[in-house]
Amino acid sequence: MGELRFDELRGEQVDYAIHRQDRTFLPTREHCPLCPTRPGGEPTEIPAASYELAVFDNRFPAFEAPNGAAEVVVYTDDHDASLGTLPARRAEDLMWVWRHRYRELGAREDVDYVYIFENRGVEVGVTLHHPHGQIYGYPFLPPVPARELEADARLGGCAPCGLLAREQRDGVRVVYENDAVVVYVPYAARWAYEAHVTLREHRPSLLECEPGELGGLAQALQRLQRGYDALFARRFPYVMAVHQAPTGGARRDGHLHVEFYPPLRTAEKLKYLAGSEQGAGTFISDTLPERSAAALREAIARAA
């Protein structure tokens, strides 16, 4: 069982989950715990010879009932696949899995915020290479979504709606769009190739999306990931963060969007969070978003 401590100086919660120190760390593919359990083989987390999508409680949870949740979402039984290479229908089904977990975890009294995310690549600390994401059910509203709600108040309306309108007006940072979503490198991107995938319509969460919008979201996520991999002709690391309305409050504020934070600033160089970022909270970037967007837009088109 973890322990929450409140950092009074920062005004933030810190989660101590010391049992995670011993979690599985970069096993060989023969010992991958997310692969199917082959007949006669070593049992894995998923006792089936094959499967499409799977969700299970994390064996090493950062949060657990009655103080939140931590789940693993496995995209496929193919160890070498990725979100971008899944069949289109499977990617769309993944959106429905996310929606299902948002609904079910969000209904729990001990979950105030359902956070779906994916860490891809050892550069961002991934410990299992099998294609998967995670879901944390926070027993409180974390700082980043709280700041997004503060932006709504500051801007006098839905901040993502306003920012999307600006990006569409400017146009130069848009890298992909379809009927449901627009993908852009944000005006004030912190990471060199940061991208936001934003629903055109104001949808607080996956629950409010039309089925066609889920398909459009899946398509955009796949196109973006393939574009990332094409950008430097290498597997592109990132953190993918799905932001939706909190589930613990009285209001349905929020606008579904997916943010990508890739640590690469060139094919070989990583952006580190150093003195200014960690000690002062100010990102220093050596890449202009407009220039990154042009390169990413071309890579997405090339990888279509």
């Binding site: 999508l53 409680d57 009655p66 429905w96 929606r99 609904r103 209904a107 729990r108 009294e109 349905r252």
Partner: protein, 68 residues
């Protein structure tokens, strides 16, 4: 204060929640979310739930085009 909880799942019919780490009736958890039926549908997906030896929940999802 009114709750902003995401709407709960379908009502349980043949609950298998008792065998899991999140039993129905756990304090602070809505019954609808804690005691799901063993076999469900959600959108285009068919769900099968089970419990691991240590009580952790496992859900397998498969695409199913048939009408619910």
């Amino acid at each position: 204060m009114a709750s902003n909880r995401a709407e709960p799942g379908p009502s349980p019919s043949s609950g298998s929640g008792q065998q899991r780490g999140r039993p129905a009736g756990r304090p602070g958890c809505r019954p609808d979310a804690a005691a799901p039926p063993a076999d469900e549908r959600f959108g285009p997906l068919a769900l099968v739930r089970s419990a691991k030896e240590d009580g952790r929940q496992l859900i397998l999802y498969a695409h199913d085009d048939r009408e619910a």
